[in-house]
Symmetry: C2
Subunit: 330 residues, 2 copies
DNA sequence: CTGAAAGCGCTTACAG
DNA sequence: CTGAAAGCGCTTACAG
């Protein structure tokens, strides 16, 4: 069962290959009568254009690479954030009739593979997700000449254009809220300190703390629940009198809740807890979690638009506002 | 900045295009000395093969489509199960040096788009995830002639080869455990009844209940937390004396825990709860959740192997064992 | 082991 | 508006 080619359709319709090509690609300059005949032939033969042949001549593929730069053990691990981002991005891309090629990279071999793939022009553009400080990919990919947009502020020396949520502002709002609630000894559990989301949320916290003349109390986490448990236990040991904690992710906040429960602290009576992300699970904790919501879909939409609009290196980044969602944990 | 072609490399190395092609593709029949020269030229020019040209002649693309057939609102919503599966599958695929094209389909337009893409031979094979009863995609994709393997038992009339976890056995083990713990009025919260995972887990429950001469007590859910809350409330209304519930997903079990808490029932004292999946969150509920673990990575590995081995329609399905993980909720 | 040549299936100036 | 023809960048029998 060989697939019919343009040639076959042309023969059947009694026209040239060029004409069939024009009809298939929706060119305006085709006689309506002929168009109808060609369309019928396409239909009858079940013709579907060969994408390889097409992109060989057009030099475009219609695909966009979504590069997730993470230890594979974590990427999708259990963190809904990535999932939500990936869904939002791919939805936007498909609305623009682009296919999404999902690439995970987490090892030198993985970086190589992704770089080769992009350099080989398998994709017309790349969206970079979740980069860490040591990540060689932003630089390598920008060097291929393929358009690159970063999801989240890049930490690499190469700075592709990016869109991000307002992490600093969100953290600020969280701490402000805690202060307004009368909390005085406010700790934070940070994200990975080699990622901009981790860094920026910490910066927002520190800014407000030092601005109000208070001492920072910091424990480092990595966005996972388990790290939230460990960090909270550590904080309790460092300052048993703390009365609030701002966790840089909801997952870590969930871990913190568990550590607090184990330590016999009541939330929010003894310790208030604020998370970040507003994943669905935040509504299901006991007590329900106060958290900072990110405009995930909007960031995705913006990134796709930037990529399709051909935004160049050096362009102004776009930073979208976050929103504090107050529930029962504060 | 034009990309160098095979031609350019050949010129630089002083050999024919055919020879360069052989070297690049690792053909054994090349004089080692020549190979070295060619490799140097490739290096100096930064040559990367053009995939479109290559696949135009080889008729292969090196890509595998991962088709997720779900309302976009749910796919990645907050359910880590999909994420875990997608990660596992793409890891296996990349180990086999295949690229992963992620395709979400949830509307007639989406189905069409996916079908055209596959029919256009953008991919060498397709893995089908999460089909619902009314899903036209299995049939449409099988008809394209592209190899299709299903993740999970298909519910369509067309039956592509598949690999699945032992859903029936897992449900059976959950109910057996509940019976062994002395529970007598055991309810279940089902998954969507147009999906095989929902159907099979319900079948396992029913089988054991009727086998032990008990009446089934069923509420329908859709795998989400919210549906777990609603279903549990319903069950409590239907039979206030129930002493156990088997939820067909951990997320629904989490919802059930919340509904039970609200209703003033203690877990496990008044009501024992068992989930299904063993996602990470199951360790963080209060009390920690007893659940049925699925071999997600193993299923993924098997599916990829089946696809690459060219398993044909009509082949024996592979069903992998599940395992009961006992924690504090029973 | 190597090269000349055909051919994969399209698109797109260029004429007419 | 339509067609003949060149060309996109590879791979692979086929000779030698």
């Amino acid at each position: 069962m060989k697939r019919p080619t343009l040639e076959a359709v042309a023969a059947r319709a009694g026209v040239s290959r060029a004409t069939v090509s024009r009809v298939v690609n929706g060119s305006a300059t085709v006689n309506p009568r002929i168009r109808t005949v060609v369309l019928r032939a396409v239909e009858e033969l079940g013709y579907v254009p060969n994408p390889a042949a097409r992109s060989l001549v057009t030099q475009r593929t219609g695909s966009i690479g979504l590069v997730v730069s993470e230890p594979p053990a974590r990427v999708f691990s259990d963190d809904p954030f990535f999932s939500l981002v990936i869904r939002a991005v791919s939805q936007e891309l498909e609305a623009a009739d682009k296919q999404v090629v999902l690439m995970m990279a987490s090892s030198p071999a993985g970086y190589d593979r992704v770089e080769r793939y992009v350099a080989g022009r398998h994709v017309d553009g790349v969206i970079l997700l979740s980069q860490h400080g040591s990540d060689p990919l932003p630089t390598a990919l920008v060097r291929t000449g393929v358009p690159v947009i970063s999801h989240g502020r890049p930490v690499s020396t190469t700075r592709p254009p990016y869109c991000d949520a307002d992490n600093v502002g969100g953290a600020r709002a969280a701490v402000e809220h805690l202060l307004a609630r009368g909390r005085r000894r406010i700790a934070t559990i940070t994200g990975p300190v080699d990622m901009s989301a981790g860094l920026d949320r910490l910066a927002g916290y520190r800014e407000l703390m030092s601005g109000s003349g208070r001492r920072s109390l910091v424990a480092v986490g990595d966005f996972t629940r388990d790290s939230g448990v460990a960090a909270m236990s550590q904080l309790l040991e460092d300052d048993p009198g703390l009365d609030a904690v701002f966790a840089a992710s909801d997952l870590m906040a969930i871990g913190a809740l568990r550590a607090l429960r184990r330590a016999g602290r009541r939330v929010p009576d003894d310790v208030a807890v604020v998370g970040f992300d507003d994943i669905e699970a935040a509504r299901f904790t006991d007590p329900a979690l106060t958290t900072v919501r990110q405009p995930i879909a909007e960031v995705a939409r913006t990134i796709v638009r930037m990529l399709l609009d051909g935004v160049e290196e050096g362009a102004e980044p776009v930073v979208l506002p976050t929103e504090l969602i107050v529930r029962d944990s504060t």
